[in-house]
Amino acid sequence: MQFLIDNFWALTITGLTLGAVYALVALGYTLVYGVLRLINFAHSEVFMYGTFAALWVVMFLGGKAGGGTGQVIFWIAMMFVAAMTMSGLIAVLLERFAYRPLRKRNAPPLIALISAVGASFVLAEVMGLREKIVAWVGLDDNLRAYVRNSRNAVGLPDIVAKEPVFTVGGYAVTNVDIFVIVGAITIMVILDQFVKRSRLGRGIRAVAQDPEAAALMGVNRDRVIQVTFLVGGVMAGAAAVFYLLRIGITRYDAGFLLGVKAFTAAVLGGIGNLRGALLGGFVLGLAENYGSAIVGTQWKDVVAFVLLIVILLFRPTGLLGESLGKARA
């Protein structure tokens, strides 16, 4: 307990940065759940591909510690472009090959979960075996730097120097912390407005509310679903960049635990509800940090799941309730 009081601000800020990443990934789960009533189990891999895309683009551009401000901004911008493109692409492909064939055949909902699990294995293993696959194609000489040790963690070059900007209660808040929290919230505000105001956003809400009525009103359901996956993937790509800046390393199986946590966050806030995902992410990030300060770091994940169970007991539809469709226009 004393530890929690002494380090309250440090725990809060790191909890918020972690929560921002959870929240962004949780958005992908929530969006897809909203329109398809389906847990997109492979979304964690969408995120993982984003981290690698961000990493590779920095390697490609020769990013290293001690670059000038302009250079660092350029690198980070390129990371966003690469990660969002990659994650969006993977998410759309996922929808095309793992979900759409099932939808066309009116498969029972559980089977979609199995297809998602399969897709998740395939995506993770392709990344984990990239060294062998590239050697098999015969490109290993050109790509060695990118694919080597494909089953181990790969680190991002230290492109951003972590500098304290100001101090809160004895904890020096760094530029990276601020960037992650502010950046994530900005992106989510943009998404919220997109779903609220744009034509496609209206389509998403319509399909979430009543797919058949939406189709009768002329909404192209397949297109809306595709856009939903794309948006979810792009969010995961952004999360991947923040994650990489914050944690610094990634691995072919890095998505798994994060995916589980993000899904927990989505359920915590009320699945299908965008603001719920945001709230759920931050609550989960903070609760994990406070909880592990009280009962010990090794119980961090237990804290997260116990919190989830307790909240579902008292609010069975999550903190904010489930309502992508019911969000006010």
Binding site: P101, L110, S115, V126, V260, V267, I271, G296, D301, I309
Partner: protein, 379 residues
Amino acid sequence: MTTTQNATKKVRPNLNERIADLPLPIKVVLWIIFALFLFALPLLNIPFITTPDSDFGGVLFTVSTYVLVALGLNIVVGYAGLLDLGYVGFYAVGAYTVGVLSSQHGSLPWLWCVPIAILVAMASGVILGAPTLRVRGDYLAIVTLGFGEIVRLTLINSEWLGGAQGISEIPRPPGIELFEVPSIDWSTGVPVVDLGTTTTFLKFGISDFIPYYWLALVVIALVLVFDILVKNSRVGRAWEATREDEDAAELMGVPTFRFKLLAFALGAAIGGLSGAMFAGKSGFINPQSFELLLSILFLAAVVVGGQGNRWGVILGAIVVSYFPERFREFADFRVLVFGLALMLLAIFRPQGLLPPRRTLRAKRADARQHVLEEGEAGA
């Protein structure tokens, strides 16, 4: 839609129905032959089926554990329609109950521990189910997933339960050494009885896993009988009603919550039983044996086979556990191939390999409905 179409024309009886129509003595003989074949399977060493890179007896035991688990999970997922992503939790509870009572903090023999393990797993099912079964389906998935993770992390972090090293020196099932059973050698291309490689009948040793497989087969048979009895009873019908439409079932006077809890408890009990078997065979257990991935594989077994059909889930369990072992030579790529196979199965057999047959009652109801509709059209 298809069932109504089938009802219009007289369909040729399929294999299942033809077997069902055989006279009883022939059916019994067929069953006995099939059972004998299953028991002899590890000794026959049939080419292409035998796993070249790992001990076939051990693989068969693993497969039979999966079958047992899948039967248990089928009660929860297939019969009662509750999505459980943390089934490995009960499996772990069963294994650790045996470990704690027989080695870590006690010295009970294995046979005594098994019923206790079943009861403890059942109790954990009730404790988890009582508060959480009120939440809706998809939430249940994440809650059970959380439960599985809580169990695993508690095992890692609790010194009392052996921590990350786990528990070793778990006693083996008691055996009586009666006689030696020879195996068959195919190395020359023709089957030859190999008297050099034998298995002692009912000696639960550390290197020969065939007796464990036999034990597992017996347990599976018992569970199957239990499963058939429960499914055909009032309880089974209540599950079916709850799964199809919970509100309607409740209105008809089915206490759905109690039946869901019962399904959860029974499923947990069978999970605990499988865990106890696993602990008795491997002699030591650690938290790594109970990863979340295992829950997903168990669920895959049930869904791939055809949730709700006990023969289907058995087939699914065999597919999920056997093929990765058989194709160990592609060790690096097997998870990749497995993932692809799951996707293809999902797309081309969305109802599972062996989808559940509509019960006779449902078929009759359909036929009656059809007659009514035809009558209206005629008038």
